[in-house]
């Protein structure tokens, strides 16, 4: 049973944080000082949306839409409107990344265990999984989906960013006060609080959570992708957990972490993930996009 508690706490003199846990990540909504009652009312809206998205798309729940899609492999099914727009989005991302971003690539994790050890799977094990990867193997005519046998969909790569944007829309539609939504490091703010812009720290993924950079954020979204502590080290080569969907092998030479600023969290998250998938061309890719970004190598 997930912990669905909300905790309100002061952050320095002028801010309040409403904290909760969702999508296996620490989440919070930052607000200017106000009554705890008012802060909870706002935080509840964001938390319930995060929990809703988690419940609907989690790979780990057997009552999720994802589980239902998997149960119906080989049968055409009609998905709901929200799921259809997520699959449409994944489809467009697959196209525009020329196959790099693929929500069917999760099956490759069966071969890889990124536990910091030196265990690399046998090439044959990876080869056996490759036929199960490929968004283009899906039959998708919105809202009708046919998922072939053996394939898996994983909305995990966009779910958290999507949840941030959805929660943002809900809070912004209510004309609330300035707020910053932060779901596990993916965040979005509407405008600066009265006492100056939001201060956002970007963590080094491989050290003890010491923020390495403090950014001032007034509005907009930041998303970070990285291989954090999830890697395999063999013969001096570090294999991060970002897997190339066409080879089944980790992308080599990618930065440890990429943070991208964009207008929506979904866009920022996709750009960060796509940058990592470009491996040693990550920086060049980001430069070409003309976005603000921060790399940790």
């Amino acid at each position: 049973m997930p912990d669905e508690r909300l905790i309100v706490e002061a952050r320095g003199e002028n801010l309040l944080a409403v904290r909760f846990t969702a999508m296996a990540s620490p989440c919070e909504v930052l607000l200017p000082s106000m009554s705890h009652h008012a802060a909870l009312a706002i935080g509840t809206v964001a938390a319930q949306e995060a929990w809703r998205v988690e419940k609907k798309y989690s790979r780990y729940r057997d009552d999720s839409v994802t589980a239902w899609i998997h149960e119906n492999r080989g049968t055409p099914i009609e998905v709901d409107e929200e799921t259809a727009s997520l699959i449409d989005f994944a489809n467009q991302c697959f196209d525009l990344s020329e196959g790099l971003f693929d929500i069917t690539s999760g099956v490759l994790r069966r071969a890889w265990t990124f536990d910091g050890s030196d265990r690399i799977p046998e090439a044959a094990a990876i080869e056996r999984l490759l036929p199960l990867v490929g968004f283009d193997k899906l039959q998708w005519t919105s809202p009708y989906l046919l998922l072939p046998a053996g394939l898996e969909l994983d909305f995990g790569g966009i779910g958290k960013e999507y949840a941030v944007d959805r929660a943002y829309e809900l809070l912004a539609a209510r004309d609330w006060t300035p707020f910053l939504i932060n779901f596990g490091g993916d965040l979005r703010a509407n405008r600066s609080p009265p006492h100056g812009p939001w201060q956002v720290g970007i963590e080094r993924p491989d050290t003890d959570r010491e923020p390495t950079m403090l950014l001032d954020l007034e509005s907009g979204a930041l998303a970070t992708s990285g291989d954090s502590r999830r890697y395999v080290l063999k013969d001096g080569i570090r294999y991060g957990h970002i897997l190339h969907p066409s080879t089944g092998w980790p992308v080599l030479g990618a930065p440890r972490s990429v943070t991208v600023a964009a207008s929506s969290c979904t866009e920022a998250g996709l750009l960060a993930t796509m940058a990592l998938l470009h491996g040693d061309r990550a920086q060049a890719f980001l430069d070409e996009q003309g976005v603000r970004y921060w790399l940790l190598k």
Binding site: S35, E82, D88, L96, D165, T266
Partner: protein, 439 residues
């Protein structure tokens, strides 16, 4: 193939443009949906963004009063932290109300307060005398407005009005709260002022006068009260909240129940007459209250409160109230057993009857059982279920609550032999069933 990286460039920039378009389609679609959801409650107009707590209660005292009570509470928190709250209650009471007289071996006849002969009623031997024509409706409305005026201070003002056909009560209140210690501690101070106007049916009886003479005064009666409260709320740990407060209130004016009488009993145990009750015209109450709310783990939380009250009429009371909330299946449902224990000592002038051999009473007397010594236990359980939201709200909650109340008298005075065998202290049993819907 030197050109290749360059050839990629427009393509890659294109990637971002297409990604923005795709994100907009995804979030735009979501936005449109949430907008739809926000538009939907337009029918409810005023209610948009207000949280509504509504309930319907059915209260039944065994053999006595039956009450049906709809309650509605509207609350809105504004972006700047202000909050506004309105509530309304409508009570419809009917049934039988004890008139204060003692159970007797002979039939007793009483005139109803309305004074109409048709409304006179007779109580059978061995039965507790009750006025069977008790009927009243009460309508009560209240409003409260809270304004934060600094980051750590807020003021709150409120007003309440309650109307019955023979009783009107108006209360105004104000409070101020100050947060400090990183908002982990809140100090509050409140003051309220109540003004009541009574117009007893048939006039207010002269206190302590003979019931048979029906000495009534014309015109209304009033009473008014002032109360102050000082409280501190402390966040002890992340999962433990403690609140302590002390309060004093003082009422002055006509504090009698105009419909209550006391039996006069001779040494053989026969009822020789009745007298209207007579209470002091002042009452000062002091109370202390301590509440602890603890979230033990994900599904279990408890709230335990203790109250001590004493007044200058000689009543001391203790209350302990425990709520245990057990959340089920992802917090979509919870079940909340409740247990309340209460005891009070009698007012110094409480007497179940007046011995006829006693000197004519010059002091105060009342046989109102609410001023006697008794103990009461309440057992309750509440079940609440979250449901899909209506009108763009994230969710709604349906709840049902049932309580059983049992009151027993704690002290029995020696009675003349003629009253032996009668149930002079019948106690009280009541049930409450309430269904609620919050959205």
């Amino acid at each position: 193939m030197q050109l290749k990286p360059k050839a990629l460039q427009p393509n890659a920039t294109n990637a971002r443009r297409r990604l923005i378009a795709a994100s907009c389609a995804l979030l735009g679609a979501a936005g449109a949906r949430s907008q739809q959801a926000n538009v939907a409650p337009a029918d409810s107009g005023l209610l948009e963004d207000w949280s509504v707590d509504s309930a319907l209660a059915y209260y039944h005292e065994d053999g006595r009063i039956l009450a049906i009570e709809p309650v509605v509470n509207l609350a809105k928190v504004f972006a700047d932290g202000q909050s506004l709250n309105f509530n309304g209650t409508f009570d419809s009471l009917s049934g039988s109300s004890p008139n204060g007289a003692l159970t007797s071996h002979t039939a007793q006849t009483f005139a109803s307060p309305s004074g109409k002969a048709a409304h006179a009623y007779t109580t059978a031997p061995g039965q507790l005398p009750v006025d069977p024509h008790y009927q009243d409706t009460r309508i009560a409305v209240g409003a409260n407005w809270t304004v934060p005026f600094t980051r750590v201070d807020q003021v709150s003002v409120g007003a309440k009005l309650s109307d019955e056909h023979d009783f009107l009560s108006a209360t105004v209140s104000a409070s101020i709260a100050h947060d400090f210690n990183e908002k982990n501690t809140t100090l509050s101070f409140g003051i309220d002022n109540e003004y009541d106007s009574l117009h007893p049916i048939g006039g207010a009886p002269v206190a302590g006068s003979d019931y048979a003479l029906a000495e009534k005064q014309t015109g209304g009666k009033t009473k008014d009260g002032v109360g102050v409260l000082l409280g501190v709320t402390q966040v002890m740990t992340r999962n433990w909240l403690s609140e302590f407060n002390v309060s004093v209130d003082r009422f002055k004016g006509y504090l009698n129940d105009p419909y209550k009488i006391t039996s006069i009993i001779d040494s053989a145990g026969n009822t020789t007459g009745y007298e209207y009750e007579s209470r002091p015209d002042q009452r000062t109450r002091k109370s202390a209250y301590w509440e602890n709310r603890v979230a033990w783990n994900s599904p279990l939380s408890t709230a335990l409160s203790l109250r001590y009250m004493s007044d200058d009429w000689g009543i001391r009371s203790d209350t302990a109230l425990l709520h245990v909330r057990w959340s089920l299946s992802n917090r979509d449902r919870y079940i909340e057993p409740t247990f309340r224990w209460y005891r009070q000592t009698a007012a110094s002038f409480y007497t179940p009857f007046i011995p006829s051999t006693a000197e004519p009473t010059t002091g105060y007397e009342s046989s109102d059982s609410r001023l006697g010594a008794f103990r009461a236990l309440t057992y309750g359980v509440k079940y609440a279920q979250k449901l899909p939201g209506v009108g763009g709200r994230a969710e709604s909650e349906f709840s049902i609550r049932a309580e059983y109340y049992q009151q027993t008298f704690a002290e029995r005075v020696p009675v003349p032999a003629g009253l032996q065998g009668l149930d002079l202290y019948p106690g009280l049993k009541a049930i409450l069933v309430q269904i609620g819907w919050r959205f």
